[in-house]
């Protein structure tokens, strides 16, 4: 019952999620095999969006709550490596596709 309630209350959100999932499928469905690795890498960089959670966490934390601050900062570092490294590596992989012009 609770879940049904949840469903009815968040109907639009659920629509949104389902459509994003479909969109995620659609957007990828016709990739040439060449691009599998860079695409994976690019998607991986996007999944680093979790860093935003770490930022929110730290911004919300007390200035003296060192446990949360330090753990949160570790989170930021990890997330940032994922984001920056991910996009940069993807870019390097994709460099080979600019070599030639049709």
């Amino acid at each position: 019952m609770e879940w049904i309630q949840f469903f009815n209350d968040n109907l639009i959100l659920i629509y949104l999620l389902i459509f994003i999932i479909i969109l995620g499928f659609e957007v990828i469905s016709k990739v040439p095999t060449v691009l599998h690795t860079p695409l994976m890498s690019g998607a991986n960089a996007i999944s680093g969006v979790v860093i935003i959670g770490a930022i929110i966490l730290i911004r919300q934390a007390e200035a003296d709550n060192y446990l949360i601050l330090s753990i949160g900062t570790i989170g930021i570092i990890l997330g940032m490596i994922n984001v920056i490294g991910g996009f940069a590596v993807t870019d390097r992989m994709l460099e080979m596709f600019k070599k030639k012009k049709k």
Binding site: H36, T37, S47, R59, L69, G85
Partner: protein, 463 residues
């Protein structure tokens, strides 16, 4: 108003993710797509940094430190890593993303047991983020180790490993349920984290080394889902959307990668098979390396100069016309294509000439032995189409070989060699060919006409 701007920024960020991903799936636009997604990420981060709705002591110092530190490390690593080590790198990055999700959910749980208790629904979401993030974390790390050759399949696989995995999974889910239902304690939460980390490791352990890219893609979609769960925790749209998007596209990409390998996902995950035999052909101690049509097509397309070496197999497969088609296709994309005709290729003098003339290959494109050997060191890619004896290095370096002393095409002097034949069977002279085990050589097994037809199709997707 400022909230409007923040909302708008998140919306734009989400759009940038979608469109960026879309562009990433076509070679022409991939690079711009990646940059677009990066810009979207930038917008989202900046918006979060200055979102007035987030109240607290901000602690920008900590944030700046973390971001600069992480950013610099990420950038340097990305620039330094070898092209060949890219998949490992992606795997590590992905693991870190998962770790970040683990860190976040552990803090939420810590707060749950400390200051601010959560609702059951929130707890479910937090535990989900924890579990998925943890699996993605250790799984990715093991995938990295395997890919990097630091760990062998046999070192981490136990007998009946798949059963072990199922048990581990059940235990993990059990503890998770317990925690959600009873509320648990920090200790339970730590135990759960521990089990999930172990499970992530164990999950990847039995999967064959050659299947790692598929696994990384799968783990990547896990990371996406954990980010989405974290988005729910923080009520943050862009985390939710970005996470779901990566979750969905990662899943479909995983399936596509399995299809490209002609395997099912289940087959990959049960593992074992992908580890060795399928991708290599053994001869005693030696291993001939196979190449996918796709990789071969890329090498061809991005080469400056390609040399076809036709042999009897080209004639048997009647592949002359399709070879010419591939030639035309490459030429029209700026690749210089020529043919190296060995004097004894085929089964009669001039056999190759007859065939290539039939396919209308202009005479000036045909190089004889001497010219070809002169051209080879400057050739990016040699495609041996059903030739064997005429490219046998034993003729130069194995005095015991029955072909010792015969001039052959020194194809191994080119940068890359791809050999198209149906099997490892020898040619007319009946002797094995060391070329097939050469470092630079990759085998593309199958009837030459079929193989080239597939190459043509693949190259067309690159144009």
């Amino acid at each position: 108003m400022s909230i409007f701007i923040i909302n708008l920024s998140y919306l734009l960020g989400a759009l940038a993710f979608v469109i960026g991903l879309r562009r990433l799936s076509s070679p022409d636009t991939a690079r711009r797509g990646n940059i677009l997604a990066a810009i979207g990420m930038g917008i989202a981060i900046v918006a979060t940094l200055f979102n007035p709705e987030i109240v607290g002591s901000n602690n920008y110092g900590w944030i700046a430190g973390g971001m600069i530190g992480g950013g610099v490390v990420g950038w340097l690593v990305a620039q330094r890593v070898q092209m060949t080590a890219m998949p490992q790198m992606v795997s590590i990055f992905n693991g870190l993303g998962g770790a970040c999700a683990v860190v976040l959910s552990m803090i939420e749980l810590y707060q749950h047991y400390g200051s601010s208790a959560k609702t059951t629904q929130e707890l479910v979401v937090i535990v989900l983020a924890l579990l998925i993030g943890a699996i993605a974390f250790t799984g990715s790390i093991l995938a990295y180790l395997k890919l990097d050759g630091k760990v062998w399949d046999s070192q981490v696989t136990l007998p009946k490993h798949n059963i072990l995995n199922i048990i581990l999974l059940l235990v993990t889910l059990g503890v998770a349920t317990y925690l959600v239902v009873t509320g648990g304690s920090l200790a339970v939460a730590l135990i759960l984290m521990g089990i999930a980390l172990v499970y992530g490791f164990s999950f990847v352990a039995p999967i064959g080394g050659a299947d790692m890219p598929v696994v990384i893609s799968l783990l990547n979609s896990f990371t996406g889902l954990s980010a989405a769960a974290a988005g729910l925790i923080y009520g943050n749209n862009i985390m939710l959307i970005g996470g779901i998007l990566v979750g969905a596209s990662g899943t479909i990409l995983t399936v596509l990668m399995c299809q490209a390998m002609n395997r099912s996902l289940v087959n990959v995950l049960i593992g074992g098979f992908g580890g060795g035999a399928s991708s290599t052909q053994q001869d005693g101690e030696q291993v001939a390396k196979e190449v996918t049509t796709n990789d071969a097509a890329i090498q061809l397309f991005y080469a400056q100069s390609v040399l076809f070496v036709p042999g009897y197999g080209l004639a048997v497969a009647q592949a002359q016309k399709i070879t010419k088609e591939l030639d035309d296709l490459l030429e029209s994309n700026g690749v210089e294509v020529r043919y190296a005709i060995h004097p004894v290729a085929g089964r009669m003098p001039g056999h190759m000439n007859v065939l290539l003339a039939e396919a209308d290959v202009p005479y000036p494109k045909l190089l004889d032995l001497e010219d070809a050997n002169a051209a080879l060191p400057n050739t990016d890619m040699v495609v041996v189409v059903g030739a064997n004896d005429v490219v046998n290095p034993a003729a130069l370096n194995d005095p015991g070989s029955p072909v010792y002393g015969m001039p052959v095409l020194n194809v191994w002097e080119a940068k890359h060699v791809t050999v198209l034949k149906r099997s490892m069977r020898p040619g007319y002279a009946g002797i094995q060919n060391q070329l097939f085990f050469h470092d630079k050589t990759r085998m593309l097994f199958g009837d030459a006409k079929d193989s080239i037809q597939k190459l043509v199709a693949e190259v067309k997707t690159l144009v």
